[in-house]
Symmetry: C3
Amino acid sequence: MLGRWLDRVRERRPRIHCITNYVTANDCANILLACGGSPIMADDAGEVEEIAALCGGLVLNIGTLDARTVPAMLAAGRRSNALGHPVVLDPVGAGASALRTGTALELLEQVRFSVIRGNISEIRALALGGGSTQGVDADADDAVRPDTLDEAVHFVQDFARRTGAAVAVTGAVDIVADGEKAYCIYNGHPMMSRVTGTGCQLSALTAVFAAAAPGHVLEAAASAVCAMGVCGELAHERMGELDGNAAYRSHIIDAVYRLDGETLDRRADYKIL
Amino acid sequence: MLGRWLDRVRERRPRIHCITNYVTANDCANILLACGGSPIMADDAGEVEEIAALCGGLVLNIGTLDARTVPAMLAAGRRSNALGHPVVLDPVGAGASALRTGTALELLEQVRFSVIRGNISEIRALALGGGSTQGVDADADDAVRPDTLDEAVHFVQDFARRTGAAVAVTGAVDIVADGEKAYCIYNGHPMMSRVTGTGCQLSALTAVFAAAAPGHVLEAAASAVCAMGVCGELAHERMGELDGNAAYRSHIIDAVYRLDGETLDRRADYKIL
Amino acid sequence: MLGRWLDRVRERRPRIHCITNYVTANDCANILLACGGSPIMADDAGEVEEIAALCGGLVLNIGTLDARTVPAMLAAGRRSNALGHPVVLDPVGAGASALRTGTALELLEQVRFSVIRGNISEIRALALGGGSTQGVDADADDAVRPDTLDEAVHFVQDFARRTGAAVAVTGAVDIVADGEKAYCIYNGHPMMSRVTGTGCQLSALTAVFAAAAPGHVLEAAASAVCAMGVCGELAHERMGELDGNAAYRSHIIDAVYRLDGETLDRRADYKIL
């Protein structure tokens, strides 16, 4: 029944304020447009409160963090909190530098997040207040495998409880959980890791799904994660023998553009714990 | 007869200096290359005057405005004015924040623009010295419809007279006007609004058309607007059933690459008031 | 035998730290992923030393240089030098402004580069300590032609000797040389100059090839240049009659994704001087 949250996005067409990195900003904007939302990228502290107020949700992505935008993230986050808008954190590379970990932790302290979405290494770095992420991809040691799934779910739910956010950890198996309930999602394709920014795009999607579904943050986040995975599969089915990650990048966004709630429900592959 | 201005671009291959947003900078560069021009993106105040002097035209786009680049925009604009190069303003999101509206108005005061290109809400915000734009897309209330076209043309021409610029307002119907003459252009496809940055790309195109046609700013701007609309149509004709806005984004730029003056003339759909 | 260096990249999968421009950052990230490496874009002085230490190589690209990132480039470069990681310089637009030329020269003074990759005008500007580059593309006057090839090779080798770097000058004929040996590479397609950032992408590729081949910088650089040229050819063979530079952009990255060492060896077209 996750498909209904996609239908909601298409009906309500939320506008999402993105303070995000310059590597994948274009893809984030286009995936928001693909699913029926609309993006505004604005990161100057002098305008972010006004922009946040025009939008229905906010995503804070630290992918190319610089000192200039941290105050803008804090101001936009607080304003969105005051307005009751959902705020999504994508702690890209948390654990890879003190600046990233510290900024993510400061954001967690100052802003109330609806959803925190990252890979397992990033989420571990935040949960443990540090860490040793090797970059922007999850470390092999941290990977969620069938035999460590229960432990990982426990860990994610514990972090969700402490932060009051739904937490979405994406990888070979995705876990989307709050303190009460956890979705383990099996959709997706390994090739998604060969396209830069599929995580950033998913965080933007999560924000627009959450903005369209007030009061249903966990379901909205699970639906966004599932939708991204299904689109990764659909996109892979289109790949020709000369196609590579650039074609795949386009096909994923195109699949989001074409996806409907019914298809999402039919292809969704998850269990609830 | 708008096709000749495209042919001019291909003959003269102007180099365009872009101070623009990081969301759509890649598309702006590629559409300039598609039509035969060449781009230079440079936004540090320490070099923009030199860069402007190497180019034949300038586009100032406030899509991801930050305090650092405003002085660079002013310096580049003044230098281009001194050199007699066309300068295009794309006031992305004017009306959505005081920073954007104020910066756009300051640019209008300090720099003489050849063309101002925006959606109707942005242009209204500038004309009225404020406004209530809801983001980077035009508000439904502001939309130019058949029954409000005459009024909109009047409004655009009035703003053109006050600024001394040709003004290009794009939407379902595009209006390109100076104080004397107005083009109402019917080319384009609604799906263009589902690709981020088609407006930014058009502003870049307008600059390169204007740079190739000294003394014919209005015609060059009308030709650029018409070319973008025709390419939106041609690109849509290529769309397969699995294609979405990412494929469409590529197809539009590809259509510009393939467009020639003759095709533009044959497909152009406009009237002159 | 250049194909083996590509195979090395696929085996070792080096992580590359990019301090690069916002126009082509996405393409640089995706081409690194295409060839089996992985990218981290990070440009804040507060974290670049930590990020450099997590990576196997660094690329410094001044395409949208701003005052903020110069200290970050210096810090990351020095740290990578201390760690013995290869560092690649892409002096985009050197010669076009005092800021670019001065910054590139300062980087050359403070950082030991493994490879310097640019067009002939940029390299001339650095070698002569100034110059008159007309933008980000090579000037027609500077172009390497069959009758000036020997002279160009001599010039490149002299600059390589002075800097201690391998120097890769790309154009109609590519020259990759250190003080001892020079590769003249004939792969590539003229249409590559109609896609923004093919040079930036090549610089990123060069860094990942060098990171995978310690002690073989010149061969690695020649292999990267050859691979990019071959992919430009393969991508062009796929072009349909409606395709333009946007499709070509994707096809080049896709060709890198599909390329293997054997195909590279079979299609490589070069001579060694």
